[in-house]
């Protein structure tokens, strides 16, 4: 249904870039993970902000946070991104939602917003441009 963004695979694999995917809808998270892994990234998965913070505290090689905004739990995606930006300022931020559109000033500095449903090319394109910045 969608073309694979295979041309990005090699670069990410060589650099062993790790991305943390936070999404409460399991199938949506699996699809995002599948697209990122196909593009050559290493992916960690979390179902909510608390799980995400636990992973971030335990691992120090995460380069980018890709998080849904509308999530149950102690914190939504915007709150998580703000916290991550303060505690781990080097981590790039990519937020997504099908419910609300975020303007740049609502995002933490250096964060990016992508509207759901995202296509594979939009996801990989955004991730690469954030990592290149």
């Amino acid at each position: 249904m969608t073309g694979r963004a295979g041309e990005d695979r090699g670069v990410a694999a060589i650099r062993k870039i790790t991305i943390l995917v936070v999404e409460d809808e399991t199938l949506v998270r699996m699809l995002g993970t599948d697209m990122l892994e196909t593009a050559g990234f290493i992916v960690r998965e979390a179902g909510d902000a608390d799980e995400a913070i636990a992973i971030l505290s335990a691992e120090d090689d995460i380069a980018l946070l890709f998080s849904d905004i509308d999530m149950p739990g102690s914190m939504d995606g915007v709150g998580l991104a703000k916290l991550v930006h303060i505690r781990w300022p080097a981590i790039r931020l990519l937020l997504t939602s099908g419910r609300q559109s975020l303007s740049p000033e609502q995002l933490p500095e250096a964060g990016q917003f992508m509207r759901k449903p995202w296509t594979e090319s939009a996801l990989i394109g955004n991730v690469n441009s954030l990592l290149a910045a």
Partner: protein
């Protein structure tokens, strides 16, 4: 005799004046400059149950309930001193047996040669029914205000409900669509792939229904259809995507499409996509199954037309008149035809663009045509 006559007339007149004062259909009070009652007429005595001598010497304010006393001291008396008159004041008089008698009061001051207040004339009119009427009006106003408040709260609740419903319905659909994409990249049997395509079509159909219901609900709540015009990106890929999605809904049907568009086109591409999706869905549902559905999108000068045609029996005159009304579901027959919102929303989207959506139907074909005038490039 001739000298007695004027005296008699004068006497009769005096009696009549006296009677007018005593039995006039309003209460009279005379007080001194400090509000102490000098004289009350019989009408007032009768109304209040105080005999004339029971009133004389009492203070006018003593006849008022607490709130009235305060009003008298803070407004009534000072105004009389300043303006010499005070009219149409609504007060309650406490009667001898403790009832409250609603009255409307006029008062005027008479001054001495040196300007100090010699006496105060007070006229009182019974206003029981007028007061009841006023209280009724106030009660009605309060009820109306309360109702408006309740309606506003209901409206806000509805809006929240719709937002949550939309999100909650789209979430599981997004999950199913993700599952379909994941399985799509696996090695699958012919049959599995066919099932997957059908699931995908159902997801597209459900998503379209949710969009239409949410738009309709928002429209009813006064939000209307809002446009996000965007001429920077081309329209054609959006239309192609919609056609591809609709092909998934009816894989056994043919959809022919012709595009002849001079981009850029200043429109809300997502909305025009929704309009086309609704028209295509309608054509696939109601059109003859053995004939193709034909989409033709073209710009001609500064006019954009998108027409969707299907074969099959024509739409009756009567049905055509009601086609774009919400919840209209055709002449019966096919059971599975959704909520009847698709054409209504499509026509609303056309209207929001300042365009039209028209239908032509005869034995040969049924054609829905969307027409809009494009902004001239400056």
């Amino acid at each position: 005799m001739s000298e007695d006559k004027p005296a008699l007339i004068a006497e009769a007149a005096a009696v009549d004046y006296e009677d007018l004062f005593e039995t006039a259909p309003c209460g009279y009070l005379s007080t001194d400059g400090n509000g102490r009652i000098l004289r009350a007429n019989r009408t007032f005595s009768d109304w209040t149950g105080f005999g004339g001598d029971l009133l004389a010497g009492r203070h006018f304010a003593d006849l008022l309930p607490i709130a009235g006393k305060i009003f008298y001291e803070t407004h009534f008396a000072p105004m009389l001193h300043v303006q010499s008159a005070f009219n149409e004041v609504a007060l309650d008089i406490v009667t001898a047996d403790g009832r409250h008698l609603p009255v409307l009061v006029n008062a005027a001051v008479r001054r001495d040669g040196d300007g100090s207040i010699a006496s105060i004339r007070i006229t009182l009119f019974k206003s029981t029914s007028r007061r009841a009427y006023e209280r009724g009006l106030i009660a009605q106003r309060d009820t109306a205000e309360a109702n408006i408040l309740v309606e506003r709260e209901d409206g806000e609740l509805r809006e929240q409900f719709i937002a949550v419903l939309g999100h909650d319905l789209r979430n599981p659909l997004a999950a199913i669509a993700s599952g379909v994409r994941l399985l799509d990249s696996e090695v699958l049997s012919e049959r599995s792939r066919k099932i997957l395509t059908l699931i995908d079509g159902s997801v597209v159909r459900a998503a379209g229904l949710i969009d239409n219901v949410l738009d309709f609900a928002r429209g009813r709540l006064g939000g209307g259809i809002t446009l996000q015009r965007e001429a920077r990106e081309p329209l054609e890929p959006v239309l192609r995507q919609v056609v591809a999605e609709l092909r998934a809904i009816a894989p056994d049907r043919t959809v022919d499409s012709i595009y002849n568009l001079a981009e850029p086109i200043d429109c809300d591409r997502v909305r025009i996509g929704q309009l086309v999706s609704n028209l295509l869905g309608n054509a696939l549902t109601h059109g003859a199954r053995n004939e193709p559905v034909r989409l033709n999108a073209q710009t001609h000068g500064c006019v954009l037309t998108i027409s969707i045609a299907n074969g099959g029996p024509p739409i009756s005159e009567a049905a055509r008149a009601r086609l774009f009304q919400p919840f209209y579901r055709g002449d019966g027959g096919v059971r599975e035809q959704g909520l009847g919102l698709g054409l209504h929303i499509a026509s609303e989207i056309a209207r929001a663009h300042g365009g039209t959506l028209e239908v032509r139907s005869d034995a040969a074909e049924t054609v829905f045509t969307f027409t809009m005038t494009l902004m001239q490039e400056v």
